[in-house]
């Protein structure tokens, strides 16, 4: 489970021929997709197209029925979620899942520990190594909070945050994992226009400054078109179009998929 070198310009997260079925429902069928480090790649599609299922497959919460998932040259499918997280996939959830009873800072600290090795005995004896690791974790967590504009809220209880703050804390927590790829499941859902605008700027700066690969599921087309380098469109668990935002916007199959849904 070794970590891939940090600034790996060519690093890819790949889904190859992956299928996933829930009872009688084929949620994902033979899907092939590739995400690149340093780009923002949007995944869009009508409700129930399989977008969140794709994230759950990528992060090890679901196992694919067939096909494989790769990060660089390492296979991800079949690994438990905590290993996938440690290998560099940080994510948020469509229906926010914070640790409500913990503080904002603690939420992020939880995500720091997979790459800091201090043991049970270190904690009981408060060794020098333990204190060093705690300081380091604190720095990483604080950095993530500052990036997401939550620095002043670090001592608040997560359950007490406003909706927009909760969405941002989820991203901060995923950043505290120090991921290679950041998977955002509808990060702007429920945000007001100013918050969405702010979020757009933050996401753009993450790509530029941290060289993260960002995979973005989003229904807000303005946000998608304004941010993405590449857009993939899913319908019924398959990819029906892919390309630049402009190309996808004018693709007749995409228009049909969306119109068909609204009709």
């Amino acid at each position: 489970m070794s970590r891939v070198p940090y600034r790996q310009e060519t690093m890819r997260l790949e889904v190859r021929e992956v299928s996933k079925r829930f009872g009688g429902l084929q949620a994902i069928s033979r899907l092939t997709l590739a995400f690149e480090a340093g780009t923002i790649h949007a995944v869009i599609g009508p409700n129930g197209a399989g977008k969140s299922t794709l994230f759950n497959l990528l992060t090890g919460i679901y196992r694919p029925d067939s096909g494989s998932i790769w990060l660089h040259d390492q296979r991800l499918d079949g690994r438990p979620p905590h290993q996938v997280a440690a290998m560099g996939l940080g994510r948020t959830f469509q229906n926010i899942r914070l640790f409500d009873a913990m503080t904002v800072l603690e939420n992020c600290l939880v995500a720091c520990h997979h790459h800091l090795r201090s043991t049970y005995l270190d904690a009981v004896l408060r060794t020098g190594r333990f204190r060093r690791m705690e300081r380091q974790a604190m720095q990483i967590a604080d950095q993530a909070l500052v990036i997401m504009g939550l620095g002043v809220r670090r001592g608040a209880i997560a359950g007490a945050l406003s909706y927009g703050e909760r969405r941002r804390l989820e991203i901060a927590r995923a950043l505290a994992l120090q991921p290679r790829f950041l998977l955002l499941d509808e990060p702007a859902a429920g945000m007001n226009p100013q918050e969405t605008q702010q979020l757009q700027e933050t996401i753009a700066s993450l790509r530029a400054e941290l060289h993260l690969g960002i995979v973005l599921i989003e229904h807000d087309m303005h946000l998608v078109m304004g941010l993405s380098d590449k857009v993939s469109v899913l319908e019924y668990g398959t990819r029906i179009a892919e390309g630049t935002p402009e190309a996808v916007r004018n693709d007749p199959r995409v228009i049909e998929a969306y119109l068909g849904q609204e009709a």
Partner: protein, 424 residues
Amino acid sequence: MWKKSRTLGGGMIPLLAAAIAGSFWLLLDPGSTLAFLVWLAAVLLTLAWEGRPRLRWALGAVLLLVVLPMAGMANSFLLELTVQIGIYAAMALGLNVVVGLAGLLDLGYAAFFAVGAYTWAIFGSAQAAAFLGGTFPLPGGYFYLFLFIAVITTALVGVLIGLPALRLRGDYLAIVTLAMGEVVRVLANNLDHPINITNGPQGITPIARPPIGWFSDLLGSVGLVLPAYIWYPLFFYLLVLLLIGLITLVNVRLSDSPLGRAWVAIREDEVAARAMGIPLLRTKLMAFATGAAFSGTMGVVFAAKQLFVSPESFTLVQSILILTMVILGGMGSIRGAIVGAALVTVLNLQVLKSLSEYLNVLRQSGAVLDLGFWRYDLSALPTQLEPAKYERLVFGVILVAMMIWRPEGLLPSRRASLELHQGE
């Protein structure tokens, strides 16, 4: 800020009043249950109080290390009772890790206590000779070693029981741990044949006590010449205080560490915790093993103190009792676990029993309650009215009442109180 310091100042006066009143009363009348209750209230208030750490430590030290031992000279039952409270407090601290922090509902917790108790009971009595041959009991000095051996064996048993059980969630976990707890008790009950390991329902006795010559010498060397009958009660009292101190320290440090945060994260949201890099099974096993180890150590102390163990001491009711302590004190709260343990133990061993005795006295006095419009002959009090037998009812009522009025417990953990009262 101003408001805060005012409330602290306000808390100090009742605290000091209780401490002084309780101490003098207890020293003057060591046999009085009420005096003991006031003293205990002072100890618990000291624990609950937020201000002036130095004063708090000093007060605690005087109450625990001076007042009670002195009163205990006159009435060694006081030492007995506080040791019992201490053993339960240590177990509540252990269960607090499992249920309070990690959110794993364990209804078979008494099993680990049993494993610890039997570990010393078997080797600290002639029992081991029944299936190993050789010369047993081990010399009493091994007691000290077994305190550590029990940490390891019960932690291992915790992992063994946890491995299958922790794959389940919520209610299923509760049911399986309940069953596992019963399995341990039934094993203790039946492992007297074909090989006699536990001596079955008769239990094991006599169990060796640790040699405490060094302890009485130590007391003598600081000028305390005490009668011999008080040595053991005093020794166990101080040992339990020491162990609680250690267990509390470990508890505090773990709960403010990556592992402690991982426990709370799992309790809050398993899926999110896994997605943030927390290995689920391993983290849960650590909670189980930690809780088990605390309980196991106290089992060794229990066996040596009682000189006798039998499966009867490790029933489901015991597990529920400890759970009641944790919930009463406040899930996830370290001070709460201690306070909960003290209140439940005292209620169970002292208050209900005293009430029963008091009712008995009333019954036999033949007095008549005369309110003018209503007369009641006290000798007609039904004999079934016996509070000591209502312990399960009483604890059930406590649990229900807490769930309705104060779900965060008497001394809630910082996290719980912030979460439940964020709007106030």
